[in-house]
Amino acid sequence: MLQAINLTKKYNDQLALNKLNLTINQGDVFCLLGQNGAGKTTTINLFLGFIAPSTGQALIYGTSVAEDPAVTRKHLAYIPEVVMLYANLTSIENLDFFSRLAGFKYSRKELEKFLTTVGLQQEAFDKRMGGYSKGMRQKVGIAIALAKNADVLLMDEPTSGLDPKATNEFTELVKELGKQGKAIIMATHDIFNAVNVGTRIGIMRRGELVHEMSTENLDANDLQKLYLETI
């Protein structure tokens, strides 16, 4: 579903991403680890088509993102690190607005169902999002991604700043999505969470994917050791 072929991004002389080769299939939850500036966000932005590759290709269902971002964006949903949304709209209104942009018109009931699925409490539905905690905003962000009904989910450090309970809820949700057959890329700093939620792990350093492994029989402590040795 998702493929990177020699994907490279240069900013002037700085290599942000160097010849990334990667294939992600249905049901894969691919967790990208690495320090800030290792190329995680660059990879996600290339798949989203927000930036153009210097060389190489990012493909979604075989279509090049750079060539036809309108088509490739139909297949994917995005959860940014900071889900801000519109502070003077309620969560229902935000969800409705972003769904309409993606071409979906949901009834109030359907919208409520999405919000319930991600674990947002009913009382918050009609409150303006300006007063929401980060965890609550993140949930609405996930609901927007769910409502888009996309096969590919791109997440940029979605758990940073969430409290342990919210992180746990989020992890369960992502696992569930993986089981449903979505392809997921998640950039994260949380090694233990990565082992828990991911099916595969990649460790990046200075724009290169240095290690790639399956999480089957992988111990978080071993991974942490490897990670620290790598960077």
């Binding site: 989203l48 940014p80 801000m84 949304l85 942009l101 993606a102 791109l154």
Partner: protein, 468 residues
């Protein structure tokens, strides 16, 4: 998608208290401007009607020597339309009444600016000044963060990820903000149309043109300020840039243009102009003989025509004829010098029209005055009609002296209401809308060009919106 964005823009603005407050302030100002304008309008209209009636009554009821009557003269008044309330234009400076008098070609006089100093300097609060200067500020506050805030808020990425095209984002922002400005201003235009429709239906076409031009002007401004927001690094920068543009295009450039036009084509002073006419009539222009020479020629021509030897043998009053001959020469001299001044003013006007292509404010300023009938072209049109009426008026009186009846030689020759009644009153009809359109066609082309250019920039600007 454009619709979804536009709807969201409107909803967000309505939930923003500042925006609602600004709209209320705008409406209060409109009410104050309309009320003040209407009060002035009714008062001035009343005064004018009274004065007109009084002068006419005095005129027809007098018993006087025709030449004394010519000295007594009368006053002509520029008609006051309801539209001039929306845009007072040059009326405050050009004056609205015209003196008819023997031996003297008058200019328009009694301008409001002559006796109300501070108010005029500060700028009168009219609907036009609100729409031209205040409303752009409202548009800036509405639009400055339209795109930049999406970026600062990180919603821009999410919008694109949901499949929104950058060009649709811009179209949606422009459409949403335009509808909002429409909600605020269209009721004001409808009220104007209604008022004009009830009081002076013949001006409906002008009022409609007036309203449409303003609505086009707002669309140009909204797209410009949305672009500024799209291209600025932050909302703060967008606001500063927008306000800078406002100061430059709406305040500074119009002043500079006026200064330049005045510098390039400077006008003589009223004193110098009057002096030139005085000297011209005394000494003759373009190689004509001086006053005495012209008198002698005219006398011998007239004597030859009636085949007599002296003025006293003439079957007519030569003084009357000669006075008209003098009037004809005065008109010739006056038109000769007035033509030069008018040519310079036309050149100044042309500078303004051409520079409207670089400043839409100049374009709407001219169009607004033109459709309200308060611009220079309408002024000069009225003045020409008044001047022609004056020449005809004086001629009739002089000829009455010359050919009147047998008593013409008597010193106390007088005529009464029977004659004065036959002199028709001055009637002036403002030119039609088409005339005004044609006179200001370049300003209109400039406005339309601005509209076409700004809207066609959407695809170009949309490629330049930074994501981070």
């Amino acid at each position: 998608m454009i619709k979804v964005i536009a709807f969201n823009e409107i909803r967000s603005a309505l939930r923003n208290k500042t925006m609602v407050l600004l709209s209320i302030i705008f409406w209060l100002l409109i009410v104050v401007a309309t009320f003040g304008g209407f009060k002035n309008y009714t008062l001035a209209d009343q005064n004018r009607e009274q004065a007109k009636a009084m002068f006419r009554k005095e005129w027809v009821e007098q018993k006087a020597n025709p030449h004394s009557a010519a000295h007594f003269g009368t006053y002509l008044f520029k008609p006051f339309s309801l539209l001039s309330l929306f845009d007072t234009g040059l009326n405050n400076y050009t004056g609205t009444s015209y003196r008819v008098e023997a031996h003297h070609q008058a200019e328009m006089n009694y301008a409001a600016a002559q006796d109300s100093d501070t108010e005029m300097r500060f700028g009168e609060l009219t609907i036009a000044s609100l729409l031209q200067l205040f409303l752009p500020l409202l548009i800036i506050f509405l639009c400055f963060q339209s795109v930049s805030k999406e970026r600062e808020n990180h919603t821009l990425k999410l919008l694109y990820a949901q499949g929104l095209k950058p060009s649709s984002l811009l179209w949606g922002k422009i459409a949403g903000n335009y509808l909002l400005i429409g909600f605020i201003t269209i009721p004001a235009f409808l009220i104007m149309l209604l008022a004009v429709g009830l009081k002076e239906p013949s001006l409906l076409a002008r009022t409609l043109a007036f309203s449409i031009c303003y609505l086009l002007y707002f669309l140009i401004l909204i797209s410009i300020f949305v672009y500024v927001s799209a291209l600025s690094k932050s909302s703060k920068n967008a606001l500063l840039t927008s306000l800078g543009l406002w100061v430059f295009f709406c305040v500074m450039l119009p002043k500079i243009v006026t200064g330049l036009a005045n510098n390039w084509y400077s006008l003589p002073s009223r004193g110098a102009f009057n002096k030139a006419i005085e000297t011209g009539t005394k000494e003759g222009i373009n190689g004509d003989k001086d006053r005495m020479g012209r008198y002698k020629d005219y006398l011998s021509q007239t004597l030859a025509k009636y085949k007599v030897d002296s003025a006293s043998q003439l079957p007519i009053n030569f003084d009357g004829l000669n006075m008209q001959n003098g009037e004809d020469y005065l008109t010739k001299v006056y038109l000769n010098y007035a033509k030069e001044v008018e040519k310079k003013i036309e050149q100044q006007q042309f500078v303004q029209q051409v520079l409207a292509f670089i400043d839409p404010f100049l374009s709407i300023q001219q169009l607004s005055m033109a459709y309200a009938g308060t611009d220079y072209e309408h002024h000069i049109n009225f003045h020409q009609h008044a001047q022609q009426y004056r020449d005809e008026f004086i001629r009739k009186l002089n000829f009455k002296m010359a050919y009147g009846d047998k008593n013409y030689l008597k010193y106390d020759y007088q005529v009464g209401p029977d004659f004065f009644k036959t002199m028709h009153d001055f009637e002036y009809q403002q030119p039609q809308l088409g005339w005004a359109l044609q006179k200001h066609q370049y300003a209109l082309y400039a406005l339309l060009l601005w509209l076409a250019v700004t809207l066609s920039l959407v695809p170009i600007i949309s490629k330049k919106i930074a994501i981070n």
